[in-house]
Assembly symmetry: C2
Homo-oligomer: 687 residues x 2
Amino acid sequence: MRLVLFKYRRPPSIISSSRISVRYISTGLKDKTMATVNKSAHPFDKGRLEALLSRRFFYAPAFEIYGGVAGLYDYGPSGSALQANIIAEWRKHFIVEESMLELDTTIMTPASVFETSGHVARFADWMVKDVKTGDVIRADHLVKNVLEARLAGDKEARGQAASPAKEDEKDKKKKKKTAKAAAVQLPDDVVKSYEVTLAQLDNYSGAELGELCRKFNIRNPDTDNEVTEPQEFNLMFASSIGPTGQHPGYLRPETAQGHFLNFSRLLDYNNGRVPFASAQIGRSFRNEISPRAGLLRVREFTMAEIEHFVDPNIKSHPRFKEMRDVVLVLLDRHVQSSGSTTLMKMSVGEAVEKGIIANETLAYFMARIYLFLLKIGINPDRLRFRQHMANEMAHYATDCWDAEIHNSTGWTECVGCADRAAYDLTVHSAKTGHPLVVREALSKPIVTEKEVPEFDKKTLGKTYKQDAGVLQKHVETLDESALLKLKEELAKGPTTITVKGQAFEITPGLLRIERKTFKQSIREYTPNVIEPSFGLGRILYTLLEHTYWSRAQDVDRGVLSLPSVVAPTKVLIVPLSAKEEFDPLVQEVSSKFRRAGIFSRVDDSNTSIGKRYARNDELGTPYGVTIDFASVKNRTITIRERDTMDQRIGSIDEVIATVTELVEGSIDWEEACRRLPEYDGVQAIES
Amino acid sequence: MRLVLFKYRRPPSIISSSRISVRYISTGLKDKTMATVNKSAHPFDKGRLEALLSRRFFYAPAFEIYGGVAGLYDYGPSGSALQANIIAEWRKHFIVEESMLELDTTIMTPASVFETSGHVARFADWMVKDVKTGDVIRADHLVKNVLEARLAGDKEARGQAASPAKEDEKDKKKKKKTAKAAAVQLPDDVVKSYEVTLAQLDNYSGAELGELCRKFNIRNPDTDNEVTEPQEFNLMFASSIGPTGQHPGYLRPETAQGHFLNFSRLLDYNNGRVPFASAQIGRSFRNEISPRAGLLRVREFTMAEIEHFVDPNIKSHPRFKEMRDVVLVLLDRHVQSSGSTTLMKMSVGEAVEKGIIANETLAYFMARIYLFLLKIGINPDRLRFRQHMANEMAHYATDCWDAEIHNSTGWTECVGCADRAAYDLTVHSAKTGHPLVVREALSKPIVTEKEVPEFDKKTLGKTYKQDAGVLQKHVETLDESALLKLKEELAKGPTTITVKGQAFEITPGLLRIERKTFKQSIREYTPNVIEPSFGLGRILYTLLEHTYWSRAQDVDRGVLSLPSVVAPTKVLIVPLSAKEEFDPLVQEVSSKFRRAGIFSRVDDSNTSIGKRYARNDELGTPYGVTIDFASVKNRTITIRERDTMDQRIGSIDEVIATVTELVEGSIDWEEACRRLPEYDGVQAIES
């Protein structure tokens, strides 16, 4: 079996290989106004998007001038601001809204912590090496890529489409080149065995992956050389703490352990009450074997994790009623086990009632995750919740759902939402001897009665010497009914007990069995943990794909329709030119926006207004205001909406008030159009 | 000489050993109202503060249940929120206010980058080992502690105060215990030599530190064992990137390199214009040898760094006039070199004019740093700017000032502000071959004329064969006047040149020297960098010290007088009890604060209002509103100010409006008192 303990796993190939064939284009505008904007005039072009993201410095390979390092990326001003805005919204949506306890724990972690959590032993992938070049390849990826390429070649030879009709030409070419599969028809039974293998890929051990390589003659497609037996490679970056070299440490691969280790302090902070949630936003590290998927698989990434601690007996949620009717697209484990990927739409209320989602708290967070993703601009038609299959889920977890977002590479897990049960707190507590428990004062003590055996120690020792322990242990582990029976016998006089073939004579003087009353006024328990865990880089990248489109009239004019709430800049201030006569108005408008709490930027660069707007369409800036001669004369400014390119005009204060409401989301563009007349371009020209 | 290349060095011992003897207590309130609050009734008690910070989970040793790791700390809810608010204010004060370009670059860095920057060779401290136990000690700290302890013992024996009168008793005891120095009088010349050694401590090499240990018989004070020769220990955490183990990497010890490597992209983003600044807030790592000073010296920390790129010829600053009159406390290098620590107060305008601060841009940032620190609550009387001395400054830097904040351990460098000149861009450019330069289109091309020697290649080769190169190189490196002289000679006919003893006959046919005109329309230059670099953990800790005090009536009642702008919670909402009748009002008040953008928390825990307020005084919550029976009956609530414990009363909306203005800083408590009548406690009791 492959390692199933940890979050952010690749979805099983049965899922990831199923591409959806319809292209969705995010609108970011209500239906009524979007009629004027055709966002799907051009098919999605990943190359153009990537060029835009590089040109506008959303992100770039880190250490680029040193040749770069796979899986490490730097965020530039646009990417940093987008990420900061996503984080700010996340903080508002989760931490503030639910009074979560925020944490900021260290990345560098002593090895003992990850030994306990199981990461040292099991947080690993299988890798093989090219026997001649020594190139390293992830074993499951190798098997998957080679078999998929052969199946594609087979389909081609049979005259069938290689894969769903809309697959990018580029992607196809790349895959073919990588795996070097010719259009060769395979025997039907071979096709079948490849398909079965792919469907179970996540379940193979290293040895089994090695066997598959031999059985199917799988070689390094780049060199056609054989590969070695799979070896385990731990994905944590190792280091050493302090000057002696004797204290091994790891960079955390998730922020979660920092929450668990601080559980007692958090519980104290919350006045001993449960449920409560802690939250942390921070960097984590995974030393991926050969990362190649841009921001979707990286070696250093920012996560946002919530650990919601609950009484294991009470997994209802006080605010569930607010979420009950939220409808999600679900792909449950039974559907997947049957080999299907049919999605179903269902309210979380219904899903809990039907037992599809394990409990209210899990369902509550799934709905909250859904609302968060929509708020920042993810297209709901490309968002689904996939349940982990039984063999895929961590052994301690009771249920786990991934929010998967569809993008040009298929469905990508972006948020995991798992019920981790009491696993982590239990293992750390056992290891350190520090109780990580809730002690609940019972309003009504629990009173229980039971039979209790009590030996006369002196007589017992004298009578049975070294065998005394055997007898005592035997009696003390008898159940209630056996004790009652023994009690009855003893009431009649001495009796005999046989333990492991040895007979012991028991007298009423040696053993007394009495009914005693126990009163428990404190209930002590290890809470369970519901964990929503967000990969922010993956969300950011899929958001960029969902909001990117090109103007119908010119495929080179890219637009990012980012919602105002996450757009790096909310308003661009564009003076007609850098002439001094516009300065006082630029100052005035800037400072008024600043006072209204709206982040604006001035672009007075020496280029046409049209070019400046085009540049800001690429940056996702939702609104622009132009200051021209009419502004100087009449104190009017125009406002331009990014997606429609509509322009309206009004007094400086009217426009600023309208933009403020637009950015805060209290009105939409339609309403803004009702308030402000259309700009016909005459005012400026006349001046 | 010790390593002087990097930021966050310990100030030289001549400085750090000079304690200021007056205790400053931050007020956080204007003079007019503070009369009622006596914040200095009790002397500062570090133990009490630390107990508070632990109890209220500002921060705690990381991995505490595993025994902890020196130099690693986790921030709890209060500390995280305080840090997040400091960062938010930093972002507003620097990034937004000056339209800086924010970056978020990776922590994991390939070794080659730090080889170029000099960190691999030089980012190190000297350590010694106890010859028997193997315990590791930083060499300079060992020398300092032992000699200081002996000097203290000497003073005691001479019947003098051991150190400035107000030194904490605890500190003294600790130091004595650590260094085990008895009250032994030393000969006068020994005292003198110890003092000279301490004053120069930062200048000693490893070998010299070893010599000092032998000369002064310095041993490990914990065991009285001898120590080994000092060895260099690099402070970067090392790791390995990827699965082959062939790509060494380091965790960055500063965020700065990420700015420099992205310089070309940043310049592009800024449309090729200089000056501009990039900014980054992020985690950095230093594997300190034996960190022991709480948050002041840690192995993992959050920094905020600005790299302001300027034309080396234009270090004026367009907004300098706004800062010109800001008065700073300065400790310049000349004063320090003379062995004094006399501070001087001076406006940055005057300091630039007098050449004390090297240039306007550096001075501009020093003033901005000062204003930022004041805004978040640092006591200006405990803040100074210390200039690096000539031998302490990096060899490439032109000037460097540290903002040092005074606290219970002495003066601590919290912000460095250096002119790094063109060093970093130059070395990375040289290493990678990627030009990290500004290309400025000159509005008026620069026209220059010079003499240019030109050989007739064919004749040259034929005449001098393998010696031709020697001759050519010699002539081409002649200066203008030598060329003119040669030109004159050639005008007369053949002449002879002697190069390294060899005579060459030169004819007018072989060499022509002509005056040529050169026109340069692009100016290419490597910009200089002014770098303000903030250690946020150090600032946070000193802020906690500056704002902590105890109520005059009860030393156990600690208060953190954090300004609203950084306080983790702005308003505490306190219902008289958890009774349901208060719920609607609690909801209403909460949601009204949320809409006003004021972060509030409800405390309806089962304890007295007084205790709940006391708990929130410890958390630094500036305001509290109480909801009681009068609130239900009359819709009035009371507001309590943390420092004065004044209570005022008003209608719900009046109080919310007043608190909003207080938190936003547009009114002070005095003004609030004018608006709202005093609460006499009758209203609630009557109900």
